[in-house]
């Protein structure tokens, strides 16, 4: 059983071919032998005919002699005789060649000797006799008798040779017949042997192919039914021929299929889980994008408010600008007013200086009066009083004038300062006005910016809405994916595989999905989720523990089942 089917078949066919070849060779040889035998037979019969023909040689010679005696044309007869003699020798030579047995050879020699005697009779006795003028009939008769005897001897011997040849022919024929029957027998035996070997080989090979093939078909059918739990028998697997290769290949195929199915199952579970998480993510994203949209709307409204405030700003700033311009003009006017005031004050000061002058002169006069009064002594006493009164008045008016002067001077200074300040104020106001104009321009730019931002926000809003739509689409896709994964699971569950690793894996995935679901639920209550994160984690760990327990139980069950 160590040979491959090819080799086996080859061997079987080789045996058959050898048999066939042997048979053919044998038949060929037999046929060749037969051909030879037949040829020999044919030759022999020809020889027999020739012998019988040659047996009449004497007769021929005799007829010649007779002719020679009768015709007495010696020359012609001699010529004929020589021809006949040559011919006869030729024939005898032929016979000499034909003969193969000792007996025949002696007979042939006898015939030859007899013919030689005839020749010598003819040439030594007959010719001289004939050449004589007178023919001695008695002599002729004697010669004739002698020739006759020899003629008979030739006849007899050659006939004997013919008979012997015929006998031989007969014997050969028998041999031929024997050979044919032997050949037929051997052929039949060989054919039967060949048939037997062929049938046995065919049976054996066929059996060795069909049984495993049947098994292979069975396995293939069961695989087609989705059963991958089959185990290919060891005897097939350990075979070293093509069946073994096939069995191993099928085993490999089953293993690979199992692996693939496992992987697909795993993948299907993973896809389920993934699609669920994707779905949740998509939902989250959708929520997020709707929140985003809301935020964007808020931002938009804020931006609008901002725009309006900016517009107000712009209005205010333009109003401010106007006011500033007016203020500038007013300040200029004020400056002029102050200048006028200063002039007025200076006039006042001038006027006051006149008063002061008058007061001073009055004072001087009063002093002089006082001096006069003092010099007058007792008489100037009253006058002195008047003078001192006048002096007091002058002093008062002087003081008042000085005060006024001081005040006026102070105020002139103040007014001048005020004027200077106002003059300074004018460019400041102008600057303010310019700045306000710039602010106005900036407000305009801001307004433009805000409008751009608004459009950008609009775009953002549309993008967010698209996002929301896209995420909804994603969610639906995820749902579809989930259903597809479920279908895939359904489809792949068609395959039965004997792998206990699957169940825990499945459990794991379901557990994951459950977790995802919990998360999803929690995510819907975002704040709560944030607040209860610890609790949720605790819950999750609890769930995990439970699920793992279940998984273990399942494994145990499986193991038990396997044991049973």
């Amino acid at each position: 059983m160590k040979m491959t089917i090819g080799k086996k078949l080859g061997l079987g066919f080789a045996i058959l071919l050898v048999i066939l070849l042997g048979l053919s060779i044998f038949n060929y040889i037999t046929l060749k032998t037969m051909q030879r035998l037949q040829d020999e037979g044919a030759e022999r019969s020809t020889h027999a005919v020739e012998a019988s023909m040659t047996s009449r040689l004497g007769d021929y010679a005799y007829s010649f002699i007779a002719d020679a005696i009768i015709n007495r044309n010696l020359k012609e007869s001699e010529k004929d005789w020589n021809e006949a003699k040559e011919k006869a020798y030729l024939e005898l030579k032929k016979i000499n060649q034909i003969v193969d047995t000792e007996a025949e050879r002696t007979m042939n020699e006898k015939a030859n000797k007899a013919f030689d005697k005839i020749v010598s009779f003819v040439e030594d006795q007959l010719y001289p006799a004939l050449k004589k003028e007178t023919v001695d009939i008695n002599l002729l008769q004697a010669i004739d008798e002698k020739i006759d005897i020899q003629k008979e001897i030739i006849k007899e011997n050659l006939n004997n040779i013919r008979n012997s040849l015929q006998l031989e022919q007969k014997k050969a024929d028998e041999e031929f017949d024997n050979d044919i029957s032997t050949a037929i027998l051997i052929t039949i035996i060989m054919v039967l042997l060949g048939l037997g070997i062929g049938i046995i080989t065919a049976y054996l090979i066929g059996r060795s192919i069909t049984r495993p093939l049947t098994r292979a078909v069975e396995i293939s059918e069961s695989i087609s039914q989705g059963d991958l739990t089959l185990v290919i028998e060891k005897e097939y697997l350990e075979k070293k021929d093509e069946i073994g290769v096939l069995a191993r290949a099928m085993n490999e195929m089953i293993n690979k299929l199992q692996e693939v199915v496992e992987n697909i199952q795993g993948a299907a579970y993973a896809i389920t889980a993934g699609s669920e998480s994707l779905s949740s993510s998509a939902e989250q994203m959708s929520q997020g994008s709707s929140e985003q949209a809301a935020s964007i709307e808020e931002v938009s409204s804020s931006m609008e408010e901002m725009a309006s405030s900016i517009k107000q700003n712009a209005d205010n700033s333009s109003a401010t600008e106007k006011i500033a311009k007016k203020s500038s003009i007013d300040a200029k006017e004020s400056g002029e007013a102050v200048t006028q005031t200063v002039k007025a004050m200076q006039e006042i000061v001038e006027k006051v200086s006149i008063i002061q002058e008058i007061a001073r002169q009055t004072n001087l006069l009063s002093l002089n009066a006082s001096i006069e009064a003092a010099r007058a002594g007792e008489h100037g006493k009253g006058f002195a009083v008047v003078a001192s009164e006048v002096q007091k008045l002058a002093e008062r008016s002087q003081n008042s004038a000085t005060e006024i002067d001081k005040l006026a001077k102070t105020y002139v200074g103040t007014a001048r300062t005020a004027g200077e300040m106002l003059e300074k104020l004018v460019p400041d106001i102008q600057k303010t006005s310019d700045l306000v104009t710039e602010i106005n321009a900036a407000s305009g730019e801001q307004n433009n910016g805000v409008q751009q931002i608004n459009t950008a926000i609009q775009q953002l809003n549309s993008v967010a809405q698209e996002n929301a739509a896209a995420s909804e689409g994603l969610a639906s896709t995820a749902e579809e994916l989930s259903s597809q994964a479920f279908q895939l699971k359904e489809v792949i569950s068609f395959f039965k595989i004997n792998n206990e690793n699957n169940k825990p894996m499945y459990k794991k995935t379901t557990q994951n999905t459950n977790m995802k679901k919990i998360e999803k639920k929690n995510l819907t209550h975002k704040t709560e989720y944030q607040q209860n994160k610890k609790i949720v984690n605790h819950k999750e760990s609890e769930i995990k523990g439970k699920k793992i327990d279940l998984g273990e139980v399942e494994i145990m069950d499986d193991n038990d089942f396997e044991k049973f």
């Binding site: 001087l364 002093l367 006082s370």
Partner: protein
């Protein structure tokens, strides 16, 4: 009765005209003063003592004007509105002579009683004590009462008459040296 008492008082009470030079208050006896004038045009006279700044026309008569600042070796300042010329009478060679004294400002005519007067300090004064007759006290204010006769002594006036200024200056130097020695 009352009038009598008042007259007595007048006898006791002397009147003085106060004026200022460089914020210091000086006074002349009213009885020596003829009148007070504003500063009018002062005509400069060549070859006169340095403190004599020129002459003025007082109702037709020529009156010499002396700058007290120069007299007191004080820093010379320009005229102000308050600058006044006090016309005083000085005994010179047995006859009354009228002299104008330029001061920074004329204040008032004050009455000072005897108890309000004190003798001038003997030394430590910048001015010759001869020219100070007394120091009056009016509240916190001190009034330096100048003796007009001594201030414009014959010698000085004569010097002022002399045309040798260098001599006058020498004399003044000597005087100052003497003062310093004192």
């Amino acid at each position: 009765m009352e009038k009598q008492e008042a007259a007595d008082k007048i006898q006791e009470v002397k009147q003085y005209l106060t004026f200022t030079i460089s914020d210091e208050v000086f006074a002349f006896d009213v009885l020596k003063i003829k009148e007070v004038l504003e500063v009018s045009k002062i005509t400069k006279v060549p070859k006169t003592p340095k403190f004599m700044i020129g002459v003025i026309n007082l109702r037709g008569s020529v009156v010499s004007v002396i700058d007290l600042r120069l007299k007191f070796d004080m820093e010379v300042k320009g005229f102000t509105v308050d600058s006044s010329i006090i016309i005083v009478e000085v005994q010179y060679e047995g006859e009354l002579m009228t002299i104008g004294v330029l001061v920074d400002a004329v204040k008032e005519v004050v009455k000072l009683e005897a108890h309000e007067l004190e003798a001038p300090p003997k030394f430590g004064m910048n001015l010759n004590s001869d020219i100070i007759s007394a120091i009056g006290k009016k509240g916190d204010l001190f009034i330096i009462i100048l003796d007009i006769q001594n201030l414009f002594s014959e010698k000085e006036l004569s010097f002022s008459k002399q045309e040798d200024i260098s001599m006058l200056l020498d004399t003044i130097k000597q005087e100052k040296q003497a003062e310093n020695k004192e």
